[in-house]
Symmetry: C2
Subunit: 216 residues, 2 copies
DNA sequence: TCTCGTTTAGTCGATATCGACTATACAGTC
DNA sequence: GACTGTATAGTCGATATCGACTAAACGAGA
């Protein structure tokens, strides 16, 4: 099981990583993450960033260094990592690399209830998904190519290669599923069709009355 | 982009799915989900369930039907889905099946900062991950086999096949990464080693003093 | 020099989430 | 017939999260 982190949001890991390099103010963290494409691997919201930074400070993992003022811009607090912060960063990172965490992808939730859709509809939705997945794949590929063109070593783009591998697996898997549904080789298909051939119209009828009844 | 759902927790989808079949009280939803293995695809916490059920009721997607009392047990509220609930369920489900959502797997976050660990350590952590992934794979396989043995049609276990495909891709990908690091064919490796060969001992030294300084 | 869009830099409040805690009933067993 | 563990059925408070909103500074063009 994953250790409970003092600041659980993975954005905190990114903040620690950035401050490991050098002190920074929050806004600079955002721009740096964007420049390096790290906002693709760690969810970055402004509001979360500021609360994460506050929490890290409370926990003594980072400390405010100075408050600068560039021109007549509002002042910015520059933060630095502490020794405790370095320890937490490395410990967390090791765990993330070593231990596969149980996750709940949205598509898995969708698949869980796939049988609630009539087979023909499921089929066309899955086909549309393939198209959308391919679009995403080419965008990730594009990002990788651009990074390489800029001379970024592969080591620093490795997470996008991982993402690509997952997306490619998904597209192939969905493709295979589509083929199986079309070929009728998926076990339970007959029941699935039969079920929807009755309940579809009936359910719609009943649900209208039912809806009324239930809402009063 | 994903539509904002009135009750965003995917557990709400599961609740709607269950009530689509028949009215139930919350505790029964938990046991039913467990029996069917749906707690592997949708994160199920007691406390979340109750707040989700409340929110669904406020939104008019479900309604309390009756409060039963089995024996002298505390009373339980049985809920039923409304027409609005059926609409929301199907709409949400269609979207989940059709549109790939951007997600942030923990491992991707870890990989983003892999270079912060010395290569030799990264290597051994990745090797441990392979082992742990294989353990998880055999557990998922076991679950699938058990489901089939109980006569559950594949259609209702499809999400586990998806999970398996992702896990297998990950294990293969990590394996390939390990090989590349070992072979030294990963671009940036030389710099990576060089960097850690200085900064490792220095960083530890400096960070001790540094930590003091920063903490006062 | 006016103004308008963009970049810089955040704040705030409403919700969502989750772990820890509570409490009764029943089944088995000594 | 007392005792204990497990299944049943939740509650509550502390945090976390996120979208919507704010607001100054600056550059470019009219």
């Amino acid at each position: 099981m994953a250790t409970k982190r003092t600041v659980p949001n993975p954005l905190a890991l990114a903040v620690l990583a950035l401050l490991y390099e050098r002190p920074m103010h929050p806004y600079e963290m955002v721009t740096t993450m964007r420049e390096r494409g790290k906002h693709e691997s760690v969810k970055l919201r402004y509001s979360s960033l500021y609360s994460v930074v506050e929490a890290l400070e409370r926990a003594g993992l980072i400390v405010p260094r100075e408050t600068e003022r560039a021109g007549r811009r509002p002042e910015r607090t520059v933060y630095a990592i502490t020794e405790a912060g370095r320890v937490e960063f490395l410990d967390w990172l090791r765990e993330l690399v070593r231990v596969p965490e149980k996750e709940y992808p949205r598509f898995m939730a969708g698949l869980s209830f796939l049988a609630a859709l009539p087979p023909s509809e499921a089929l066309s939705l899955l086909k549309e998904r393939i198209q959308l997945l391919e679009d995403r794949i080419s965008r990730v590929r594009g990002g990788l190519a651009q990074g390489r063109a800029l001379g970024v070593p592969r080591l620093f783009l490795i997470e996008h290669e991982y993402e690509l591998a997952l997306l490619e697996t998904e597209v192939a898997w969905v493709h295979a599923l589509v083929k199986e549904i079309e070929a009728g080789t998926i076990e339970g298909l007959h029941l699935w069709e039969l079920f929807h051939s009755w309940t579809e119209p009936v359910a719609v009828e009943r649900s209208r009355e039912g809806g009324r009844d239930e809402l009063r």
